[in-house]
């Protein structure tokens, strides 16, 4: 995968598969501290310490369709190659937190990519999950908690054309405020 936002989609997918009801994704670009940090927090079924230790090994996965999981090892290797790292904190029954950091200006750091597409697709593709997205650049923050949106929409599907348009605008406006780009 060539974009950090694709890895985020992949890790969030793990959270969904762990039966998380609430998933929070925070992406912070600390330009001043030259750091890019990503935090993915879920309330899914969690892992015991032995599983956490083994999870960055390419030959561990909880899925049953295939025996090899490669998402986390790839991301860990990419982060470590950029003066950063990947840390997993998890407890069975409590959920999992994955924190990934990169040196922001590192020459080998892959681009963040289309984070807006990742957020939009998770929001629409997994309507039963309560999503909280945060994107921050130095002091400027954008937070999208979908609870209010879902309450207002009630039983209208998130993939209704007008709703897709609304969500796309909401996310794009939020990102513009953070990056200052139009």
């Amino acid at each position: 995968m060539k974009e950090i936002s694709l890895h985020i989609l992949d890790i969030a997918e793990n959270s969904v598969n762990a039966d998380a009801k609430r998933i929070e994704i925070t992406v912070i670009e600390h330009i001043k501290k030259d750091k890019l940090s990503i935090l993915i927090k879920d309330d899914g079924r969690g892992m015991d310490s032995a599983t956490v230790q083994r999870v960055s090994d390419p030959f561990v996965t909880s899925r049953t369709t295939r025996k090899v999981g490669l998402g986390i090892p790839f991301l860990k290797a990419a982060a470590e190659a950029c003066q950063g790292g990947l840390e997993i904190r998890s407890q069975p029954g409590r959920g999992t937190e994955i924190e990934v950091t990169f040196q922001h200006s590192h020459i080998d750091r892959m681009p963040l990519g289309d984070l807006q597409a990742t957020f939009l697709q998770l929001l629409i593709g997994y309507p039963h999950v309560h999503w909280v997205f945060k994107y921050q650049m130095d002091e400027r923050k954008f937070c999208l908690d979908d609870a209010e949106i879902k309450q207002a929409l009630d039983d209208v599907p998130l993939s209704d054309p007008a709703v897709i348009h609304f969500l796309r605008q909401l996310i794009s406006n939020g990102f513009e405020q953070v990056t200052g780009k139009h």
Binding site: T65, G125, A152, P161, I164, F166
Partner: protein, 122 residues
């Protein structure tokens, strides 16, 4: 951005959507499912889904529910897209890039004709 105004917008969208639904109640919703496991994402599934959402938005296609799913064990066929029209069997498509996704949305989801050369056997 004004949060309260946004929620009002959503309520308007909701009312309009419910009104339209009354009209098309009998036809039922179609389902589009996109494989978004590591294998799917690595093969370009995000662009596939992006294309599906753009098609719905641009063509104002009502009554389609788009969801994602994990790896279904056919990694070599990713990106995988499945279509379930109301009252019909699930059809599974393989190697669905953004372009093919658009074709499936138009011909299968909208017009009801299966895109046979992209169907994979399960």
């Amino acid at each position: 951005m004004n949060a309260i105004k946004s929620l009002d917008d959503l309520k308007k969208i909701r009312e309009a959507a419910l009104e339209k639904r009354k009209i098309s109640e009998t036809s039922g919703a179609s389902q589009v499912i996109i494989g978004m496991g590591t294998c799917g994402i690595a093969a370009g599934a995000r662009d596939t889904m992006k294309s599906v959402l753009e098609y719905i938005e641009t063509n104002n296609l009502e009554n389609v529910v788009v969801t994602q799913t994990g790896c279904i064990g056919l990694c070599e066929q990713e990106p995988i897209l499945q279509v379930v029209l109301a009252g019909q069997e699930k059809v599974t498509y393989g190697k669905v890039n953004a372009e093919v996704a658009k074709q499936i949305m138009k011909e299968h989801v909208r017009e009801g004709k299966v895109v046979t050369d992209r169907v994979i056997a399960l």
